[in-house]
Symmetry: C2
Subunit: 456 residues, 2 copies
């Protein structure tokens, strides 16, 4: 109470933690993230166990591993036993040895088995984001029995709004019944009477997590069942995990499109070395490819010496190719990601991009010709006696380069997908580099055609 308000805000450790315990879990996560791991661990320990579990259950907590390492093993084990299975698996994924094995061995055998199973699913799979804490009931039960069961287990389940009905003999998934239907149905009737007419939607644990996201968003579900080959339900993917996955994937795609490796930490928290590593790789690869432009320029040295006027437009022309390519690539990466366009549509896309590129290139070409004509006739710059031919060269090259840019920019995501890469790797700089080299060849090729006998 002696602390002024200012001091308290600056140093939450000095203030009684009763305040912090009153906050919502996401706010507590933010407070912990502002602390170094040892202090965050102390704060976490000072919270009531239930609240501490709620905090640890949120994916936004930074340095979870360092914090757990600071805690007494008993506390760490009891917190980890309390969080949901899918989150516990996420945490174990990042824990380092020997802490990982120590903690895993101290969990009760059931939890350990579940978590080990979850850890075995490949990253970004539906299995890796599923939870095993769902409600399942045998198909022989009445609605009243199901509702009674839900009341008993409600506290320990991630969601109770989708109830999964299982064949009592084969143990396979038969139906998914929404709770809203159960509560308005006759309690004495069999649970299946409240079920929808069609089979429930399911997904294999090895499927991509974005597949689960698409199912949930397409059918407005709150959860989708993850089912093995014979049809046993292994877990469920819930809508909140799907939102996190969608946001994460969009961020990674945006970073990749910017021409770097995806980073999985917030900008201000990633280390300097890590930042350089994520950016230098692509930057060097692009630089090495772009060196081909120097090679191309070298081979046109004679032309350059004869017609230095041509060099003036090199940056302008090259960038236009890169820009049109970047447009086409960003369009197609998203369309492929949203399944609006399939791999087999590549030809239809090419047949759209070809006329689009020609029209866009012609627009820029006309602007370019007008620019040169204006500067020449207004006396702003002298492009030499053959300035009309130079203008024509620039205009024609723009049509060719923008068309090539649109076409190759739109095809690159298809090619990458076809050979098994992520189409999102077709970054704007990647396309620009691809188009730059070809752009130079097109430019000098057009110049050779038009200016042969005059300038060249």
């Amino acid at each position: 109470m002696q602390n002024s308000h200012d001091t308290m805000t600056r140093d939450p450790l000095a203030s009684p933690n009763a305040d912090l315990a009153q906050e919502r879990a996401p706010e507590i996560v933010e407070a912990l993230n502002a602390q170094e791991p040892p202090d965050a661990a102390k704060l976490l320990q000072s919270l009531p166990a239930e609240k501490a579990i709620e905090v640890l259950d949120l994916p936004g907590l930074d340095n979870t591993c360092e914090i757990l390492a600071e805690l007494p093993t008993d506390t760490a084990v009891s917190l980890l036993s309390g969080v949901s299975d899918d989150r516990a698996a996420d945490i174990f994924k990042e824990l380092i040895e020997p802490l990982r094995t120590t903690l895993l061995n101290r969990l009760n055998p059931d939890t350990r088995t579940t978590i080990s199973a979850l850890l075995a699913y490949p990253e970004r799979s539906a299995g890796s984001i599923m939870t095993t804490e769902f409600v399942s009931v045998p198909s022989t039960w009445t609605i009243a029995e199901v509702l009674h069961h839900i009341r008993m287990v409600e506290r320990t389940r991630e969601t109770v709004y989708s109830i999964f009905v299982i064949d009592p003999v084969k143990k396979t998934l038969i139906q998914a019944v929404p709770l809203r239907r159960l509560i308005s149905a006759d309690p004495h009737a069999n649970v299946l009477t409240a079920a929808p007419a069609r089979k429930p939607l399911m997904i294999a644990p090895e499927a991509d997590r974005m597949e689960a996201a698409r199912l949930i968003s397409r059918y407005d579900l709150l959860a989708v069942a993850v089912v093995d080959g014979p049809g046993h339900i292994l877990g469920i993917v819930t809508v909140d995990d799907v939102i996190d996955a969608i946001v994460e994937e969009s961020t990674e795609d945006a970073q990749k499109f910017g021409g770097m490796e995806a980073i999985d930490e917030p900008y201000l928290r990633i280390g300097f070395g890590e930042m350089i590593k994520k950016r230098a790789g692509w930057l060097c690869a692009l630089f090495l490819s772009e060196m081909l432009t120097a090679t191309a320029m070298q081979s046109y040295q004679t032309e350059l010496e004869k017609a230095i006027v041509l060099t003036l437009f090199i940056p302008l022309i090259m960038s236009s190719g890169g820009n049109s390519g970047s447009q086409a690539t960003s369009l197609l990466i998203r369309s492929l990601a949203l399944h609006e366009v399939r791999l087999r549509d590549w030809w239809r896309v090419a047949m759209r991009e070809l006329p689009t590129g020609i029209v866009l290139g012609s627009i820029l070409g006309v602007i370019g010709i007008v620019r040169i004509t204006l500067w020449q006739t207004l006396g702003l710059f002298d492009y030499g006696p053959h300035w009309q031919l130079v203008a024509l060269t620039v205009g024609a090259a723009l049509v060719g380069i923008v068309t090539f840019g649109s076409l190759s920019g739109s095809m690159l995501p298809f090619i990458l997908k076809r050979i098994g890469f992520d189409p999102a790797s077709a970054s704007a700089p990647f396309v620009a580099t691809l188009v730059d080299v070809t752009g130079l060849v097109i430019y000098f090729g057009v110049a050779a055609l038009i200016l042969r006998g005059t300038l060249l």
Copy 2:
């Protein structure tokens, strides 16, 4: 039955629509989207009313307005009365006159008032994606009364999993109670006994819809209340609408980052003219700005004539600046969108990008110097007697340009946000253009310093 399977798949109109009615709504939408509006309207009419409403309720149906125009007015009105309010408002937003007024006037007065109110909210606001079909109960009710009420209204509500408790006198929102808590609580107790300890989360109808998305994803909610100034609940935003909004915004951001206007239709369905319009604007703007490179080159004409060897590296050096800028921009756009970085953090970001740019530039600079040295000593190309100075010029220019690229690429989203634009407008081509012009100035500036007295 005479139709072969092939014929049936090719022409669903020829086959009995009983098949179609058995499908899930999203599948029917897909089937309708493959038809011209008149045929789609016929198919829609052939479905049972309940199914047709379910189909119309999905945002993925194309040409909704054209389809409604084909239907008898009575049918159109009864379908529109059946769909959820928020979807009906979306449809009315796109309807053209006089059909819009005709249909609106034929709705029952209550629905008309609700839809008109929804239509009044600005696009992309929380109000524009909210639904008014939620469950609200007075705080005087017992849990049993609430559950009975839910059973009565379940069919007409978008969600019954969040129940909103209202002050019986002031009619303001007091609490949001999850259904899962209600069903496991004592039925005779007051509804508020099942409520969480804290006030419910709310949002203003004018708030950005992404604000609603952030609340829902941060607090793992199924719905968030939209509340007016005095605290009356106007509607709710549900998790499924939020997923649609997140996906839509990511797509728009990706397209903007690619350097074009966002398009709101799938790639293969957008008209050719529309496609040109969305792409030509930015392409021309970038082209006009990039013309400054020609102006810059013109002013260095004397240098160019003296040292034509310098032109060989122009594309290489300029593209490196654009690439590093593109990396920084994509990083910061996402960080700003996810609120990982705030406007006030600009200085911290600049102080990270400066050393990052210097290190990345030095890496590229060294590669560049090695390349020139190798080609020269291996006899692959002759960069002239002063090749060491040329190499040094290229290396030093790369450090300067990559640093400038990283710095300006990271600051551009801040500047755009500060002056009230969408930071996502800072596209890769935009940054590249910005850096290209400056890059030339830096390159020739460095060249003047290093080569003065030798080549220049």
